[in-house]
Every structure is written in structure tokens, then in C-alpha cells.
Symmetry: C2
Subunit: 364 residues, 2 copies
DNA sequence: TTGTACGCGTTATCAT
DNA sequence: ATGATAACGCGTACAA
């Protein structure tokens, strides 16, 4: 099996600390120096076979002398496994994905896996290009927050490689992999009901593109909540803004558009942290008082939320929890050789009330 | 030479969009199917040699039929180059490093390089472990914000691989690589003078560990500025707190300690964004009014700065600018075969005044 | 226990 | 122009 020989590495590298030259020595060089065959060296390194004590000694001496360390690329070629997994997300500079990436890195590092990070900016061609690259690089698995525009290819990939989706679902029945996300519909429902209970009726929603399952589900939860007060959210609903999840500026534009309406909303729900920051930025710059003039909610916590000039109410979407689940699924799939049936994991989104919500100034 | 054959990939992968099975076909299988030798297939793929039109046709047909794509691992073995670079930083979940990572990714992706992200948490053993891993994986270069505790090894690595340092210098004369950072001394001087000009005298500094060159330089700039008003900053200086750059909580502890002193400071300079957020958090929770009770400055912008309840003055440290420079240096070194002499690039840190600074309530 | 030889998927060198 | 074959560095049957 293809495991990582940490103990050997430690032994090897300890000798390299004192500023010695790294020769890029090969196993052959070590064998020659120690006067043994490459097979013996290999056995010493991987310690999976019996080697006499004196030869072990000699080999280790040569390893230290030559500052030898194994070439992982060659091993990968042999085992068709690289001990690295690809992470394809829309944008690593988004605080949510930062924490997600960090958590995933931590978990998989425990199993000696590395992480190749790829940011797509939600562009189909970038995603495609990265998928190709990772496929060619023979990563052992792919974690992907997909753009939703390469479903067929990803489905194909899922037949040959462990795939864990995050945040955006693939509906193809032949897709083979796991899915982890927040419980979008319920979370959005909770958030909307929170506003309704404060007396709001003209509630606006600033969403991401509906081609993303998360956006669609959050819209559905919103609609279900609005239905409880007899308001139908359909194509004609006036307070619906579809922006871009990865661009807080689209939240700013949304706020501007919504608040310019003849009968502006008394509350806005931004469907992720980026959009929420954008909405907040608009209100801050324009001197719109929150919550007096407008109540604001966010799906997921805004970074540095507790230090903001006002705290929107939000439902939790903890990237650490998500990351742990995602990484675990991935490692399980790799270990089980991708034989699991599709799994779906939804994380609870519970309400955290903030100072950004109050009763509307002029209820209808 | 080892280049990436993008055009070929496009051609190859276009046929895979419709949910076909990815067989992991090899060049041998393609050769067999097309009735040619593997050499010919290789030539068609890399189009570096003349092949007759009909054979090109046949090979491409087989490639499409078998959904063949090249195994990068095998190529890497041949070329001793993987088209990937390692990024070793203290913590990818820190907003500053997020933006840095994103920028670097963008730039190197243009040259078809990938990025393996490694977070060390400023721990020596983690850094060591990641260095080993990247070395074994035969990355083409390493960008590192080092812990400062593996200088000898990194120096060794720099003799065999392009290395670009970021934020933390290695002083060994035999180190071979580039260094990019903010102009720490000058930036810190600017920030301190800003407070002095507002009338502050009891100015506290919340710094990272001085083993990091950035922390040492910022301390030096602070000391130089204080000297202009005849205050010596030495080991006996009472308003010196050494915390942890990567842990905002240590900023909170610092604020608590400093403000509990008999003659508390009238201003605090936090030497990075994390520490500043921690200081701010303490003040916010304790109801300490800023800037009335205390003025606050930060080296680098706090994330979502414009939405905070108060805006510390800060000097710029743009991760995007830094990232561009770092990535460029790396690509140049890779292209030039590591033959450059050591380069050092300092980015200007200019002052942005915020609402978090005013004259002290009770000047001495 | 130890060594020889082959194969992993490619590319490059030599023949033809 | 095309094909056979030797490398790249490693692990492991198989032989000894």
C-alpha cells in the first residue's frame, strides 16, 4: 500500500539541518554508497521487509551522508496515487472559503495529504481548466464548490475519482459522490420568519445566482416563510435581487436598487456574507440608519461581525464544521476506494440575533 | 522543455463533456488503437515533430475515442519538474494571507503553475514537515513566510530550488533567493509619528514575536519615532507587549494588560491586523471609548475596516501588491534557473487616517 | 535475507 | 516520417 513513511523522513532530514547541500540523491546512489542493492535500500526506507541489522545501519549511514530523500513523483507513478487532493472553490480570498480551506488542510494533513487550491471565480472555463489539470496531476480526490456549469464532466470525474461537493449540488442521477452544505432552505426560512415576527412585510432578498443549488434553496426557504403571511414569492415579487455570491459589490448595487424603489423594503436578507457586507457598505456610506430605517440579516456570519458598526442577525454557517465533514467524507472515500453510495450532509443553521434588526419604522 | 500543451488539452477534453467514462487510458492504449507507435502519439500530443496528416488524424481520433489525457506525473518524473509551487504560510485562514494566496495563484496560473498550500501555525515542526513534503514532491519553487526556526534547512533548500521569502527574512549569508515585504521600519515610524503629532506620549506597541524580521523592524521604526520626542524604547520600556501575529486573542490579552497599568497608554499601535482586531475587541467589550479614551493604530488594514464601529488609522500593506511581486520573482527565478542574485523588495506603507485616533484626553 | 529485473507513463535518442 | 527502445526513480515479484 501507499503510505507515507514519516519516521524515515525525520531520521533523514535531521541530518540536513546544518546547512548542508541537498544533492537530490537517488535510491541508486544510496545503494552504491552503501554497497547494497536498490531493493535493500527501498526495504530499509519502507521497513516492510526484514533486513539485517548491519545493512540497515549501512544504508542509514549512506542516506544521512548523501542527504537522500525519496522522490514522491516516482512513487506516485508506481502507485497511481499522489497523496494530494484538489480543492476547487470560487475564491480563496473569500473569508468563508479561507476557513473552509484551512480546516480541510488540517484534517487531510493528518493523513499525509496535501491540498492544491484552485479558485474559479465562478467561471466555467477556469473550472474546466482546473479539472483537467487536477485529473492530469492524478490527485487522489477532488473537493469542489462547483460553478454549476460543468456538471457532466464532474459527473464523469466522479466515476473515476472520489468527489465531494460543497455548497452546490449536482443533480445528475449518475453522479457518484458526497454532498455537504448548510441546511439552506430551513436556514433561510428561519431568517425570514425572524423578520416577519418583528413585523416586517416588505422583505427584500439579495441572492446569488439561482443556478447554484444553495441560492435556489435559500430562495425556497424565503418563499415558504413569506407564504405563512400570505405573500407569494414568484417571478413578479418586487424585492428579489439576483447578484453574485463572490462579489460584495453586487450587494452594494442590490441595496441601491432596492432602496430606490417607490415602496422600498423595510428589511433586507443578504444570502451570504459577501453580499451582506456589500449591503451594509451601501447603508453606511449613505447614512441609512440600521435598524431604524432598515433591518438587515445575513446568511452566515460576516467576518469581524462583532466589531461592525451594527450586527446583522444571521444564521450560522460554520466553515469549520463544514470543512471537517467534507474532509472526513473525502478521506473515507479515498480509503474505501470510492465505494460509498452518495451521502448528503446538511448542517444546522441556527439564528443569532443582532442589533441590525428591529420592528419596521412604518409597518403597513 | 517542459511546457504545458493547453491546446491539446482543450481538444482532448471537449469530447469528455457529455458524461462519458474517463478510462484513464494511457499513451500505449492510444497507440494501439490508432495502429501507431507510442512515439508517434507523443509527437502528435506535443506537436514538436513532423507527423503525416493522416496519422495525426488517426491519433486524434483514438485520443477522442479513448478519452485520453496525459499523465502529468509521468512527465514530471521525466522532467524533474511538476509545474507546481509550494506556498508555506503561517495560516491560510488569516485574511491577509488569503488575499496573498489568491494573488499568487492568479499570477502563477497564467504560467500554468499550481499552488500547494501549507499552513504552519508558526510551528517549527509543521514547517519542517511541509518542507520535506514539498521537496519530495519536487515542486518547482517554494514561497515561504517562514517561522524563522528552520533557517538552515531553508538555506539549503534555496541552493537547489527557487525560494522567495515573504515577510520574514533569513540572514544567513549563504541564503540564495528573494525577499519581499512591507517597508516595516518606515511604516512603523510613520504610524508612531502620526500619534505623536496628535500629542500622544504614552504609546503602547502590541507586536508579534521579535524573532520575525517584520516584528523586529516594526519595533525599530517605533523606537526611532519615539526617540524624536526623547523617549528611549529599550527593554525597560513599559508599553511593550509581545504577542502572536496569528492570534487575534493575543491582541485582546495585550490590551487588557496594557490598560491595567498604573499609568495606562493613551494610544496603542497593533503591529498587524489580527492583533488590531483583538485590541479592538477588548475595547469594544469593555466599553472603552475610541478615540476619546484611547487611540488605536494598526499596521495593515483590518478586514472590513470600513464597516467597523471605529476605524483605526493604519499604514497600507496590500497583499495584492505583495503577492504580485512575490509571484513575479518566483516565475522569474524558475525561468532563469535560479541564477539571479538575491533581490529585496520593500513596498511602501503609507498612512490612512481613521476615526480611531485623536488627541489624548489627558496629555501629560 | 538479499539481489536482479521489470513495470509504472512519458519523452527522447537512435535507428530505419 | 516513423518505430523500437532506453531512460526518469521507485517498489516489488521472482530468483537465488
Amino acid at each position: 500500500m501507499y503510505t507515507s513513511k514519516v519516521s524515515v523522513w525525520v531520521e533523514i532530514m535531521d541530518h540536513q539541518k546544518a546547512g548542508v547541500v541537498l544533492h537530490n540523491a537517488t535510491i541508486k546512489a544510496v545503494a552504491k554508497d552503501a554497497g547494497v542493492s536498490v531493493a535493500t535500500v527501498s526495504r530499509v526506507i519502507n521497513s516492510n521487509c526484514k533486513v539485517s541489522a548491519e545493512l540497515v545501519e549501512a544504508v542509514n549511514k549512506s542516506i544521512a551522508k548523501l542527504n537522500y530523500y525519496p522522490n514522491t513523483v516516482a512513487r506516485s507513478l508506481k502507485f497511481d496515487s499522489t497523496l494530494s487532493i484538489g480543492l476547487i472553490i470560487s475564491d480563496i480570498s473569500n473569508s468563508f472559503f479561507c476557513f473552509l480551506a484551512r480546516t480541510i488542510e488540517d484534517v487531510i494533513h493528518g493523513d499525509n495529504y496535501n491540498m492544491i487550491v484552485c479558485s474559479t471565480d465562478n467561471q466555467q472555463d477556469k473550472e474546466l481548466s482546473y479539472l483537467r489539470l487536477l485529473l492530469g496531476k492524478k490527485v487522489d480526490g477532488i473537493i469542489i464548490n462547483t460553478t454549476g456549469m460543468n456538471d457532466e464532466l464532474i459527473t464523469s470525474v466522479s466515476h473515476v475519482l472520489p468527489v465531494v461537493l460543497c455548497g452546490r449540488k449536482i443533480h445528475s442521477p449518475s453522479f457518484h459522490g458526497d454532498f455537504v452544505d448548510s441546511d439552506n432552505e430551513a436556514g433561510s426560512y428561519t431568517l425570514t420568519r425572524h423578520l416577519i415576527e418583528h413585523g416586517h412585510r416588505r422583505i427584500a432578498i439579495v441572492n446569488g445566482q439561482r443556478i447554484f443549488s444553495s441560492a435556489a434553496e435559500r430562495l425556497a426557504g424565503f418563499a415558504r416563510a413569506m407564504k405563512t403571511i400570505g405573500i407569494a414569492v414568484d417571478e413578479g415579487y418586487p424585492y428579489l435581487f439576483e447578484g453574485n455570491f463572490t462579489d460584495s459589490n453586487s450587494g452594494t448595487l442590490a441595496a441601491k436598487a432596492l432602496l430606490s424603489l417607490p415602496a422600498p423594503p423595510t428589511a433586507i436578507i443578504a444570502m451570504n456574507n459577501e453580499l451582506a457586507a456589500g449591503v451594509l457598505r451601501y447603508c453606511h456610506d449613505r447614512g441609512i440608519h440600521i435598524p431604524q430605517d432598515l433591518s438587515i440579516c445575513s446568511y452566515g456570519k460576516i467576518f469581524n461581525n462583532d466589531l461592525l458598526y451594527v450586527q446583522p442577525s444571521y444564521v450560522t454557517m460554520d466553515p469549520t464544521l463544514l470543512g471537517h465533514k467534507i474532509a472526513s467524507f473525502m478521506l473515507e472515500r479515498i480509503a474505501g476506494k470510492n465505494q460509498h453510495s452518495n451521502r448528503e450532509m446538511r448542517l444546522d443553521a441556527h439564528l443569532v440575533k443582532g442589533t441590525g434588526v428591529s420592528a419596521p419604522a412604518s409597518p403597513d
